[in-house]
Point group: C2
Chain length 885, copies 2
């Protein structure tokens, strides 16, 4: 029997693996193999497969017996190609050890460079490079990195001696330290490691190698990695691979360097190489954001740019970028190192990008003939469009700019300043908007970044941790803002002109310009033409689902229509009850104890509602508008505090006691399951009658003015056919009366929300008399799962963390449970009434994964908030493409 | 085409109809026909069918054109047989007009007697009977009855002149008035009618007849009838028939009389004729309870009895009773009239009886070979058994008897005295127990009687309105209690020895002895052997469903086991949390802010729970005991008022502020859908661990003492398989530890409640790891229907009244909705796990109609409160018989 292959080698233009083998080799390993195969300059190396990771966890953190020989064989092959020997005191081979999961995982251990150095081989390296300074700089880097990521010592503890030494020498940059300084530093660091880790820094290169391999596999289950997987819905059992690659050195002098480049601008999508590099540096210097790197192109980087300083390397990089794009048919994010003017490719992967860039790149690539429309559509994460749709800083608004940094992730955000990720989480949980302000961010900050509206850092470049993560999250982010000085202890920062901003103060950041502004700056709607419009056109070509919007005002309706809404799927009439002093009339209605008061209040409310409906129906001319009659329990409209009650009492001329009693009598144990929805309509028919009359009067007025309007009256919380029947018996009479009064007729429909399990289960009864069903998946989720959304905080988080459930069922529909009811209801409803229109108006209507499900069920439309309309259009197109048979 | 037949004649030993035709002829009409056919002495007459009633309501209260001729033809046939003519001034035919629905309906118009009398025919009657007094007594009765039931005048307004005249004459009985008095009375009554009805009393007999027919049909939809149908679940579209029968006269003198008799004692079930009669009286005098009638048998009625006074008639009645019982194979309730020593049968129907009598009669009839066991089982209304199971007056308890009346409906009841049906309803709605005390009751009082614990009347016999209705309702009832004098105005009554009882005072009545007692008298458990035991044995032979009980204490468990429970289906551990000062330990647990406090509290609670489980498991030795782990949200255990909070704070040495904050933080918007059930167990595993440990320790101790116990651990509110898995992963470890400690092992099961729609829908997932499902249909109804039981009062009543739904879904399972989920879950659960045990532990487990459904679904058992165990056993047997294929 052939031995199981755990190690995949690449080098000298030939690799065991290829780009298709991401699950086995991880993304990094697979692409290193692929680049080798297509003839790009990749240092030789090998990948230990993800199967070893699985084995590692299944066998109490041990390795398959075959692994040792295979790794040694891999090292031998590298030695052969490079012509140096691992552990040699003359010409030592150094390697990097890097994790590489099938999906990019910033939460994991990333890289150990310069592995193989010790007190002896460092002299070999010095001799070989003819550069002591370089050798000891590499060694001190190695001790720092290995000490941190393998031995678990806090990074700052190992950075301190370096900072101290620079201070003592009065220099600013690492490069200003000389070989003697670095030799001393190495000794200090080794001491420190011994002191903090309780053991010597390992001198045997093979020990170093195996410890590093173990650390990579171990990092798969560190807390950050687990959190990252949870946030990004990555399965826990994928495992990571380990890549061991011959070192090439960007820190060999000024003819060396290292950098990161994108084949297109990841922020705007513009075609052309885009990136940053650092001369005389190793890879970690760029990503870690410690030194601010220099742009690659002359246009941005000027005389210091790669294009200017290394013109040949630049040309080679452009050539490789083109090869890679044509090969992978997507924008690439590459890592490279220049060792004495020779370009080495260390990594390529699909580049992360802002939504704006994603849209432009997809559309451009269609135009370039690189991909087809379906591929373009499938390539955009629908949720990411959110970034393009939200308000931006109003250009006309006065603003006090207190700093400008790099525009790392577009969109504007405003919030209260916090200085730690924990604080950000804490305040966000209370519903506060915060901006996380850090000198730089690290993987520990992920949760806090996720909780913040935006992120501002004082250091770091466009590819720094903060920038990459924020773009992934679609958060506004400004990085490398040298204008601000942060004082963590005093919890404040100082900006331009000495402006001091304290914790809790409001600031606004603009991730598209890099500006940092004092206070809450007004914002405006984004433009929606151009590339975005092109993408939407494509989506509309493929989608089967209609997309409506949930809107309660003419303004929201207008926004939604601009975003492409094809009607209103849910207009909540009660929202109108809270506007201005209408609430007084509402309360008067609730508290009426005689017919006259009641009729007066209803008459007032009818006029309000009529004008609301008029406005909305007019904006939505030619499109259907589903209006839901009053839904919430009446006590929601009454005041709560004694003070408010007394104020109201004197206003309407009743005693406070009477009012309190009334409020008390309306109070409910479980309002969600209480006297609301059509139960109100049946017990107080005059309220629904008033609303229906207002709808028809508004519609008739518009009709007379020449507008075609299509009101659809929706009865909420129906559980029994007879509930709906009650209104089917009343509404036509009201319609007739109003039509006669106005002398015109308006087409209308009567239907119901399906938001109770019973309604779904008996859809074959209800469907007989309903002209449409609209799935109210918010309440349907609450009842089906027996979970009150308002109270779920206490356990739902724990459930998701403890993996009882994988997704928040209020965000993404619970397909197995709630989804089953939707399917049952759709089938039963259509069986008795093939003409019935089926839609969904819960928040799931704007969630791409849920939309995919609704497509498979064959609903007619989804309805979502105005800003999610484009997301829904795209998600619907993706669903159609995904399920094409 | 033959004319449609609307009139069914009977007379001279031959009838158009028969007993099978109850739907068409009503119960009364069908049985009159049947009695005629089998040769019993029935006066001739005819029945107008229920189809006419339907026609009447469908055609704006008019009749089919054919009806007039058919009625006239019917009258002609009666005239022929009787030899008198309707409206004749010489020998006038008089008839009775009586309603008769397919189901007995006390709420409807019942009877108009002596129809055909007017100012002229009354003289004909006088001449014919040679008795002016009789003729005018009949005429004044006719005016009173017709005036009341047909013309709608309040009965008391027409009774008043009679009372006044008796007073003026200084006599007590109607019979003491002479012909001249009655002639005067007739004139006064006619005046009164004119005054109150605004028109003359009709003199044309045909007008009288048609008006009476219209009144009967009209009474089908009077409010009382509608209420009665709702209470008794009688469909509204059955309609009533009208019976028109030649009058025979019980008021022709002392050789005449009228009475009501049962073929067996309706209170005890003892075989032998039982009933009451009044000499020289018409039927209404007996039922109305105005004069207290005399028992039929000499044993009870002595020298005044029918047996003594009318020996031949008595013999004939006994003979007829036997014929009827053999014919109908059930106990009969007969109305008869003696006209000059000749016995006439006016009605027979299945006799209403107490549960005790029903059981005895059914068992006796099996023994007599009259019916088979299945028939016997089907004949008992399972719910009625309730009467036999509830506590009776403790014979050893001291009691102050303030009156003794007739034991009209067995069982004891205690409550606050009220004097009107409205008051009874009002207080009962507030949850108060009341005894309705009335001089006599009338159909208007039905709702109040239904609301009361028991009924006490000062007048009336065993067949008076109060007695009949109370027995039907299974309420304790004492009637004809002459010892008490009621003063409605002062709202009090005076009993023996001048004891005054005011509104709101507590009394206790014993419907089995007729005693009325002051205050709340202690009660004891009923005996369950004899006939009841025989019936239960029969039921157990046929039923397929097991019957368990819901019990939380050793005492309840014992009661249930005595009632035949085959285990515990639901033991609610939290109920134990409230006993005595345990709540302190519970609160200590909830409020613990350090590990030590928590562990101390848990240790205390564990000992409490262990002793609870020990007691319950011991009582249920050899039977399974399903213990549900903690279910309610924690805030239910904390105090509510500021006072209580302060008291608790000082007790446990915390600040009131701290406590309030904690209580506030636990508060929920919708506790029903909140942090409860297994959600608590997952977020605070130590609580469930403690409970599980207590269960196993108690079980092990019992095992060591030689008891075989079968604990089943039930996880509440599971919606996701992984929730259950969480405990399936933990519990075996705890079991193992306890078993090792005690050195014994106890078999146990782990299962779950199915009480959320999602659990039902995904039963094929959950069923893979559950050893049993117990349907928690209370919560499943709340979630499926989206109705909070606590808040449903505001609309559910209106729903039932307005016929949105027909039954309270919390009483009888909503088969179409909730039932569908039960069925889905049972099928899916069995598909993945054919061994799974399926039970139901919601309150529906004790509801006969729901039990029928659970039988059809094929559950293994139902579980109900201890007192409903026998009901469930019987209902399960009936379901099995009903669905035998």
């Amino acid at each position: 029997m052939a031995e199981k292959k755990y190690v995949y080698f690449f080098g000298n233009g030939k690799a065991d693996g290829n780009a298709e083998m991401k699950n086995l080799l991880g993304g990094k390993g697979a692409n290193l193999a692929e680049m080798t195969n297509i003839g790009l300059p990749v240092p030789p190396g090998f990948t230990i497969t993800t199967e070893v990771c699985t084995y590692f966890y299944q066998h109490n953190r041990s390795y398959p017996p075959e692994l040792k020989t295979q790794v040694e064989e891999g090292m031998r092959k590298i030695e052969e190609i490079i012509g140096r020997k691992f552990g040699s005191e003359e010409a030592p081979l150094l390697v990097s050890v890097r994790s590489g999961a099938p999906v990019s995982m910033p939460g994991m251990m990333d890289t150990v460079l310069n592995l193989g150095l010790n007190d002896k081989t460092v002299w070999g390296l010095a001799k070989m490079a003819n550069n002591e300074r370089f050798a000891f700089d590499s060694y001190r880097r190695f001790i720092q990195m290995f000490g941190n990521v393998v031995m678990g010592i806090e990074a700052s503890k190992l950075e301190e001696p370096l900072e101290k030494m620079k201070e003592e020498k009065g220099v600013e940059l690492d490069t200003e330290l000389d070989a003697e300084d670095l030799k001393k530093l190495v000794e200090i660091l080794k001491e420190r490691v011994k002191e903090l880790a309780g053991k010597d820094f390992p001198q045997d290169p093979w020990d170093q190698l195996w410890e590093a391999i173990g650390a990579v596999f171990g990092s798969w289950n560190n807390e950050r990695a687990i959190v990252y997987r949870k946030i990004n819905n990555i399965p826990d059992d994928l495992g990571t691979a380990v890549n061991i690659v011959a070192m090439v050195f960007g820190n060999l002098g000024d003819d060396s360097g290292t950098g990161v480049a994108f084949t297109r601008n990841p922020s705007t999508g513009e075609k052309g190489i885009f990136g940053e590099y650092l001369p005389n540096a190793q890879g970690e210097d760029v990503v870690a954001g410690i030194r601010t790197p220099i742009p690659i192109s002359r246009e941005e980087g000027g005389d210091e740019s790669l294009e200017a300083k290394f013109p040949d390397v630049y040309k080679e990089l452009v050539r490789i970028a083109e090869i890679l794009e044509n090969h992978f048919k997507d924008m690439q994010d590459m890592e490279f190192t220049i060792e004495k003017m020779k370009l080495w490719m260390l990594q390529t992967r699909t580049g992360k990008r802002t939504a704006r860039a994603a849209v432009r790149i997809a559309v451009d690539m269609v135009d370039e003939g690189l991909i087809d429309e379906k591929t373009a559509i499938m390539r955009i994460d629908p949720s990411s469009l959110d970034q393009l749709l939200h308000p931006m800083i109003d250009p006309k608004a006065p603003k006090k700019v207190i700093g400008v940094g790099l525009p790392a992730s577009p969109g504007a955000a405003t919030g209260k300043v916090v200085f730690s990720a924990e604080e950000a989480e804490k305040l966000a949980e209370k519903g506060e908007k915060v901006i996380l302000v850090r000198i730089e961010t690290s993987p520990e900050d992920i949760k806090g970044m996720n909780a913040a509206q935006g992120i501002l850092t004082a250091r770091g470049g466009m590819t720094s941790h903060a920038a990459v993560v924020a773009r992934g999250m679609g958060k506004a982010c400004v990085v490398g803002c040298g204008d601000i000085t942060i004082d963590y202890e005093e919890e404040k920062f100082t900006g331009k002109d000495g402006v001091v901003v304290k914790k809790g103060d409001w600031i606004t950041i603009d991730g598209s310009t890099g500006e940092v502004m004092l206070g809450q700056v007004p914002m405006v709607e984004p433009e929606l033409g151009g590339y975005f419009g092109r993408l939407m056109e494509m989506a509309d070509k493929y989608r089967k689902l209609g997309v409506r919007t949930n809107a309660d005002t003419p303004h929201d309706s207008e926004v939604a229509r601009k975003f492409g809404a094809e009607g209103i799927g849910l207009c909540r009439t009660e929202h109108m009850f809270f506007e201005g002093d209408r609430i007084d009339a509402v309360r008067q209605m609730i508290l009426a104890d005689n017919e006259e008061d009641l009729q007066n209040a209803l008459a007032k409310l009818k006029e309000y509602q009529k004008s609301d409906f008029y406005g909305i129906l007019k904006v939505m001319e030619g499109l259907p508008v589903t209006i839901r009659l009053l839904d919430p329990p009446l006590h929601e409209f009454l005041p709560n505090t004694d003070e408010e009650i007394e104020e109201l009492a004197s206003k309407i001329g009743k005693s406070a006691k009477e009012l309190k009693e009334k409020a008390e009598s309306l109070r409910e144990f479980n309002p969600m399951l209480g006297h609301r929805g059509c139960r109100l309509g049946i017990t107080f028919p005059e309220i629904y009658d008033m609303q229906v009359e207002a709808i028809f009067e508004a519609a008739c007025e518009l009709k007379k003015e020449g507008y075609e309007v299509f009101p659809e009256i929706m009865i909420p919380l129906v559980g029994f056919k007879k509930e709906l029947q009650f209104f089917k018996d009343r509404i036509p009479g009201i319609a007739k009366r109003v039509f006669e009064k106005y002398g015109v007729e308006v087409p209308y429909k009567i239907g119901t929300m399906i938001e109770l399990p019973r309604a779904a289960l008996t859809a074959d009864e209800i469907g007989e008399i309903a002209e449409f069903f609209s799935f109210g998946t918010n309440d349907l989720t609450q009842t089906t799962l027996g979970i009150s959304r308002d109270d779920a905080g206490k356990f739902l988080k724990k459930y998701i963390e403890g993996e009882i459930i994988t997704r928040d069922p209020f965000m993404t529909i619970d397909v197995n449970g709630v989804g089953q009811l939707v399917k049952i209801a759709a089938e039963k409803g259509r069986k008795v009434n093939p003409q019935i229109k089926l839609g969904i108006c819960g928040e799931h209507g704007g969630d791409p994964d849920s939309i995919d499900f609704f497509h498979t069920v064959g609903l007619n439309y989804v309805s979502c908030s105005p800003y999610r309309v484009p997301i829904a259009r795209l998600a619907a197109a993706q669903a159609a493409i995904r399920h094409e048979s």
